[in-house]
């Protein structure tokens, strides 16, 4: 469904991605784990064309999206809940969700709204509150819900567990599993919380310094001593 071949990305002179090869099959949950600064967020943003890959090729289904404008890429069915959540702070929760749905058929809006409010009931309670006033966990739920409002076939999630209480993390991971299973949404999940991510994912990639160093099935990676040592200390 999604393939990256030899993707290199630069910020000015800094080479953040040094040739990434990665593949996500329809229906999978795939995770990228790695330390801070490894290039995980850059990978997700490069898929969406912000920044654009300098070298290599990115394909989504039958399309070559390497040079496509961002707003066209996401209209093919890719949605992202980005690093830092990026909720529109001066818009209400409902308006944030409307923004998520801005390119989808308005006939589906009520139905999709009910669906994400069922996944995250707190969003219904907070409907008319401004995004900037939500707690971190609520903002994360809103970010995922907003991404789902575009009816994506591929969902890119950047560290949804960051800074959240364990109970909230569990709720969010359950929702990720549910939308993958029931709504047939393929997921590419970036996490520092490697234990949870590898448990949930079908397959995983380990990223170090702008390169993929290891890949394999989720439980396979969980059992590798080098992965345990580097990413699961105390996990």
């Amino acid at each position: 469904m999604l393939t990256l071949e030899g993707v290199q990305t630069y910020y000015g002179n800094i080479e953040a991605l040094k040739g990434i090869d990665l593949e996500v099959q329809q229906g999978e949950i795939v995770t990228i784990i790695g330390a801070n600064g490894a290039g995980k967020s850059t990978t997700l943003m490069t898929i969406c064309g912000l920044p654009r890959a300098a070298e290599g090729r990115i394909r989504f289904e039958q399309y070559d999206i390497t040079r496509m404008p961002t707003h066209e890429i996401v209209q093919l069915g890719i949605a992202q809940s980005p690093e830092g959540r990026r909720i529109f702070p001066r818009m209400t929760v409902l308006e944030n969700l409307q923004m998520g749905a801005s390119k989808s058929n308005p006939d589906f809006f009520e139905q999709d709204l009910a669906h994400v409010q069922e996944l995250f009931p707190i969003l219904k309670k907070r409907e008319n509150q401004r995004g900037g006033t939500l707690s971190g966990g609520e903002q994360q739920m809103l970010a995922i819900a907003r991404a789902l409002m575009s009816r994506p076939r591929l969902l890119l999630l950047d560290e949804p567990s960051l800074g959240l209480a364990p109970l909230v993390v569990r709720q969010i991971f359950e929702v990720i599993e549910q939308i993958n299973r029931e709504d047939d949404v393929t997921v590419l999940l970036v996490e520092q919380n490697a234990f949870h991510a590898l448990k949930l994912a079908h397959r995983g990639y380990v990223m170090v310094n702008g390169r993929i160093t290891l890949s394999g099935a989720g439980d396979e990676l969980l059992d590798m001593p080098e992965v345990r040592a580097a990413y699961l200390e105390g996990g």
Binding site: C48, L50, P69, T70, H71, V74, Q75, A79, Q80, P82, G84, R85, R86, I87, F88, P89, R90, M91, E95, Q98, M99, G100, S102, K103, R130, G131, G132, Q139, R146, S150
Partner: protein, 304 residues
Amino acid sequence: MEYFIQQLINGVTLGSIYGLIAIGYTMVYGIIGMINFAHGDIFMVGAFVSLIIFVALGLAGVTFVPLAFAIVLIVAIVITSVYGWTVERLAYRPLRGSFRLAPLISAIGMSIFLQNFVQLAQGARVKPMPPMITGGFTFLEGSDFSITLSWMQIIIVSLTVVLMAGFALLIARTPLGRAQRACEQDRTMAALLGVNVDRTISLTFVMGAALAAVAGMMFLLYYGVIDFYIGFLAGIKAFTAAVLGGIGSLPGAMLGGLLIGLIETFWSAYFTIEYKDVAAFSILVLALIFRPYGLLGKPEIEKV
């Protein structure tokens, strides 16, 4: 008292014109964080296009005033919109991402170009326009000082109110307005949600230009004379209004426009007309000392 009310009427009329221009400044600032320095000239072009079309319609024998009015309005809006769009494409978009002052310099360049172009094409002398809409109401006739409320003033103020209400509604309720606010708050995220950011920014310039065109036409009809330089002064006043109200805030631009119009009118009426511009700017400086973000502007505390 009668004198006061008369000045109030005049001030509100002038303030309406400033307010309409100020909206263009504030919206463009909101979405790209920069001042459109060619915006005053868009207003001036709006006035000139109106004049030319009025004269042409007169020669063509269109004497039904509401029809002429409507035609002029549409043509002026279309032409200034194209100009607003061009300013964004030529002066701002290619320089997005370069150092902050670069687009301002290119916009000032376009502004000077336009002033000189109009000066050459239309001449440097002031252009008169015979009054089209005359008459009105006179109150307290026979006393020391009567109050007049002209039809033109009624038209200006009501058209402004309608436009501002429609505009506020558009920004608050429609998908386009929502996309504009999204680009204002986080352009990257807006793009990730499928918003065509470039097009949204272009449309913002165009919408500001359309309002400035209406202001230009009203200015022409109200004062009856224009020259190539009116864009500069009115532009600075409207810019002051936008800053006074809180740059980036739509209600702020409307309020600021009204206040600047009132200050200028009252100052000329009660003090001296020579210093009316100084008065408006002094009030701005004072206001900014006590409210650095303007009357209705908000400091960016909510950034997540």
